[in-house]
Symmetry: C2
Subunit: 333 residues, 2 copies
DNA sequence: ATGAAAGCGCTAACAA
DNA sequence: TTGTTAGCGCTTTCAT
């Protein structure tokens, strides 16, 4: 490895290392001719700054650290890619890590904050534990929360417009499709997305004059298995619902399995809708009506905030970005 | 942020910073009692070493950098996760980046090598350009190639056992299922996986006494669209094949679309098989028979090699890991 | 077994 | 506009 250092450039260009440093970070007043000279020499030597040294002395890092939860969701690739692309475009690097069986999310965050590697953190935090909140609040580096409760006023956050998305979906089901008996399978009860979707489901039913029916609620955990399990319970009801709204597409897939095992047809006997628009959704038969979210936009927005915070380009007030959703009309209802 | 430094620990423990450094990296001869004392103080102060400083002075990095190609494949999440998990378990961090419209893979690799951030590189390189090979060979840090031509003797590599996997698949199709007219849609012609699969397809046909038929070859590029396009060409043949072996599942999905548009049935009128076993495969109708590869094992193996190279724990000879495959029997043939 | 001191590559006062 | 110098937190000789 061993690229040239500013020392060698200084020697070759007959200037001091300070001048080289200034010229290369082009923020100081350096005579144009010397700047040009230094840049030429730097290019000749194929100079790449030692990021470690630079970050170390500046006591800051140009690494955006993306922290993901344990489960590997389908959309992580897109999220990572969009964060990295935006970061790179602004001159930053992307580090990623996730909590897993060996490490809690709290530990992951704490480590990255304390050891100086991360210049900012983007964390996909489905639910904010008190300990995590304490750690996060005790740090100087910018934190951007993805999908975390937007109620938490203390952090910048980027989240999905769950409420509006679900409201639009349920409205469509009732007003256009004529469904009245709509069941819902929720995600985990400490998950913000799940909670918001559930709240919107209830509110929208009521706004349409449909009474909320506790029997029509299944409690899942965003996994396919839980979707299937809760769907079976719903299918066994004497007053069976006409449609099941699963809080995400994975659980909707579970519903498909259950419904097929019961020998029922979608959407003739019972409709199904989901949320997320994962890649698989359009290949199910029948294809799944769901709510699309631009993960790419989410990642880009988060990186943008993180980096502008690092550069102190943002106003004091915490940013609260809501990523809009869009219904994808298909064949399952 | 600002965790305690070794200086503060030294002061509190009444020893020199050198002793603290030694005690904490527990490789030098430090009296047991002082070591215990220092560790206690360190814990009290919630000390986390400044990784930037440490890496900087040691002129090495404990960051494993994973470099991905532009396209965001479905399996990236699993790959990233498994690399990170293995790295973390061995005390390393994971950085990821990908080539994209703003940056070629050559530039990405070069940057990470030169700026000192990466301690080793794991690169998913479908095809090795001469420039990339030059860059890679000119560096001191360990390089592990994923899926790159295993012919390249100069690098450690982890790749899929394409040849054996396809041989097993084609053998099954001929001997068990009785297919004879088997068409193939290839991936890009500079992609190693694609090439190996194609080679194995040809060889296995011949071993079974079936003459290779050039008309039965479509040249795709691993995208769904190319699969559809090439499938249409095959369906228009007067002597239509009985089955299409797509070089990956995405193209198999494209085949499904084409076949349905032609009003044909799978597998009654024509069979389809793929390679990869992506998540969606089992939800297609009919579900897709394909070849499964453990991405998780791939990532783990790559991280393992990268890190043991960093620690000089591996013999000179380049490691050549082949990840075994397994046929997933389903309904599409 | 421990301490003193140099130095990694770079930036940022302070001088000139 | 440029040079000199101190120092970031840590590791690592070289002494003791």
């Amino acid at each position: 490895m061993s690229t040239a250092t500013i020392k060698e450039i200084a020697r070759k260009a007959n200037v001091s290392i300070a001048t080289v440093s200034r010229a290369l970070s082009n923020d100081a007043k350096v005579k144009h001719s010397t700047k040009v000279l230094i840049e030429r020499v730097a290019k000749e030597l194929d100079y790449k700054p030692n990021i470690l040294a630079r970050n170390f002395v500046k006591k800051q890092s140009n690494i955006v650290c993306l922290i993901l939860p344990d489960i590997a969701d389908e959309f992580f690739s897109d999220l990572i890619k969009s964060v990295d692309e935006a970061s790179y475009a602004m001159g930053y690097f992307t580090m990623i890590t996730s909590s897993h069986k060996l490490r809690s999310i709290e530990e992951a965050v704490h480590t990255f904050i304390a050891n100086g590697l991360a210049g900012s953190i983007i964390a996909l935090i489905p639910s904010l534990s008190p300990e995590l909140e304490r750690i996060l609040k005790n740090t100087e580096i910018p934190i951007v929360l993805l999908g975390a409760s937007s109620v938490v006023e203390k952090f910048d956050s980027v989240s999905i417009a769950n409420y509006d998305g679900v409201a639009e979906l349920i409205d469509y089901l009732i007003k256009v499709k004529g469904y009245r008996k709509i069941a819902h399978i929720t995600g985990p009860m400490d998950n913000n997305d799940s909670l918001e979707r559930f709240g919107s489901y209830k509110d929208t039913l009521e706004k349409n004059g449909i009474e909320f029916n506790r029997d029509y609620i299944g409690q899942g955990d965003f996994t396919q298995e839980s979707g299937k399990r809760e769907c079976i319970k719903l299918l066994k009801l004497t007053d069976r619902p006409q449609l099941i709204f699963a809080s995400n597409d994975m659980m909707a897939i579970g519903c498909y399995q259950a419904i097929k095992e019961f020998g029922l047809r979608i959407p003739e006997d019972i409709g199904v809708v989901g949320f997320d628009n994962i890649f698989t959704s359009c290949f199910l038969s029948p294809s799944l009506t769901t709510v699309d979210v631009s993960i790419e936009l989410m990642g880009r927005s988060a990186a943008d905030i993180a980096i502008r915070r690092m550069r102190s380009e943002l106003p004091e007030a915490k940013q609260k970005i809501k990523i809009p959703t869009k219904i994808v009309f298909r064949e399952s209802c």
